[in-house]
């Protein structure tokens, strides 16, 4: 089906599935098929922040005092975070917007992606403070083998869905030749690609990001690189919300509350979905080996980080109805909870959009006795 930016046919969005229905026409939010996405948009916007608001200048001094192995951990971690947000800043828009059929979901994806771009800009803010010229760090992201392995796994499912969607929207269902390869395009295959892509996005935001957060907060536990940690706390709060959104999408499908065909696909692809998570866990463990190759740091080493990956994976997999595959039950990094608690993300009330602070500032109720002592 050809994509149109404004579908001129009357469509009842309350009857559309999240994906692969009719293209969205009117961006209206007075009625919603899945009201959760409208609530997520409101919450996400209330989190608005700018990297420049966080003072990272003290980090430069801290950084100079880190050992070489700690510098390697810190910078590699930042490179990885930069990669993750580079992908997330564009991919949900490109992959999902052309096939979304609900206005509230469309706007959620746009809001979500926009916040990822704030994250990307904050890495530049952090690195500019640490180095006069951060090019060396950025340039390494596309040549570093350890990062490249992750990049190709992360982008694979997105790229696959995007390409299949492009073929479908330009040539329709059928068997198509492109770049010397044969591609079978039908709705079932497209939906499968979408399902696997959503699983991969969930694994990225629910597991991969948390490994990187653990590394950042391990420095903050030692009162080091605290400006950086403040920024990453704001990022972590956003990511918490994003992973909630993909958990909702996956569960709405699995519970048969959206497209019935997606409920079948969820069952059919259960093994592949589990494999995506296990592969992410394996890669994060390999990453931990790379991070700590020159030595550990106080409070964090390869083994603890690997245990944390398993712990968090258990939680995330259970949340979308998969079996928890690992034996670990206790959180090996209990201090992570404190950093991920949104109450402790410090912001001034006038800067943060705390709902109680903004809503009801203007008293719109005027009763007649307000005029009692008013004479003409």
């Amino acid at each position: 089906m050809k994509y149109t930016t404004f579908n001129q046919h009357t469509v009842n969005a309350l009857l559309e599935p999240m994906f692969f229905g009719h293209p969205v026409n009117v961006a209206r939010y007075d009625q919603q098929r899945h009201s959760i996405f409208e609530k997520l948009i409101e919450k996400q916007i209330s989190f608005f922040w700018r990297p420049e608001e966080v003072d990272v200048s003290k980090d430069r001094v801290d950084f100079q005092q880190l050992s070489d192995s700690e510098k390697h951990i810190f910078i590699s971690n930042l490179k990885y975070q930069t990669l993750l947000d580079s992908v997330q800043g564009r991919s949900p828009n490109i992959a999902f917007l052309p096939i979304i059929s609900l206005p509230e979901l469309e706007t959620w994806v746009e809001t979500w992606s926009f916040f990822e771009t704030i994250h990307s800009r904050s890495y530049t803010h952090i690195l500019r403070n640490l180095f006069t010229d951060p090019s060396e760090v950025f340039d390494d992201i596309v040549v570093n083998e350890e990062i490249k392995v992750r990049a190709s796994d992360i982008s694979k499912y997105y790229d696959d869905l995007i390409f299949a969607t492009q073929l479908w929207q330009t040539q329709g269902e059928g068997i198509h030749q492109a770049y010397g390869e044969t591609h079978v395009i039908n709705m079932r295959e497209l939906k499968k690609k979408l399902y696997l892509c959503m699983c991969s996005v969930n694994a990225l935001e629910a597991i991969r990001f948390y490994v990187s957060f653990a590394c950042t907060f391990a420095f903050a536990e030692r009162k080091l690189m605290e400006g950086n940690s403040k920024i990453i706390r704001l990022i972590a709060r956003d990511e918490n919300l994003h992973l909630t959104s993909t958990q909702h999408i996956l569960n709405l499908w699995a519970d048969g509350k959206d497209d019935p065909e997606m409920a079948e696909i969820a069952i059919e692809c259960r093994e592949q979905s589990t494999a995506i998570f296990l592969q992410a866990v394996e890669q994060e463990k390999q990453w931990a080996t790379y991070l700590f190759q020159h030595g550990s740091m106080i409070g964090l080493n390869k083994d603890i980080l690997c245990q944390y990956v398993e712990f968090i994976a258990n939680h995330r997999m259970r949340a979308i109805g998969l079996e928890a595959p690992f034996a670990i039950t206790d959180n090996p990094l209990p201090w992570m909870n404190t950093y991920l608690n949104s109450d402790t993300v410090q912001v001034a009330p006038q800067e943060s959009e705390i709902s109680s602070y903004l809503v009801g500032q203007i008293d719109s109720e005027v009763s007649s006795d307000e005029f009692d002592d008013f004479d003409l």
């Binding site: 958990q247 039950t329 991920l340």
Partner: protein, 88 residues
């Protein structure tokens, strides 16, 4: 919505029974020194997702995280009857 005088018994399977005392169920559980997983404490991340076996709860803020019919988010609710819950 919140009546702080309500005192209901909370049973955490494997950790015993205690009285609800705090603003949220999560705080009541923490007071017992029971290790419970949490992140946002505002109902949007789902980290404290817990199975409820008996009884029911009232939400202080509407949960945004996905929860099944037999699950609750202790960070943003309190018991409105005696309850039995199971931590992961």
């Amino acid at each position: 919505m919140t009546d702080n005088s309500d005192s209901y018994m909370i049973t955490v399977i494997g950790h015993g029974e205690f009285e609800q005392q705090d603003r949220t169920l999560l705080q009541s559980i923490e007071r017992q020194q029971i290790d419970v997983h949490y992140h946002c404490r505002e109902g949007f991340c789902g980290a404290c997702r817990t199975r409820i076996k008996k009884g029911s709860v009232t939400y202080l803020t509407e949960p945004l995280a996905y929860i099944n019919d037999d699950e609750i988010l202790p960070c943003c609710c309190r018991a409105n009857s005696d309850i039995e819950i199971e931590l992961d």
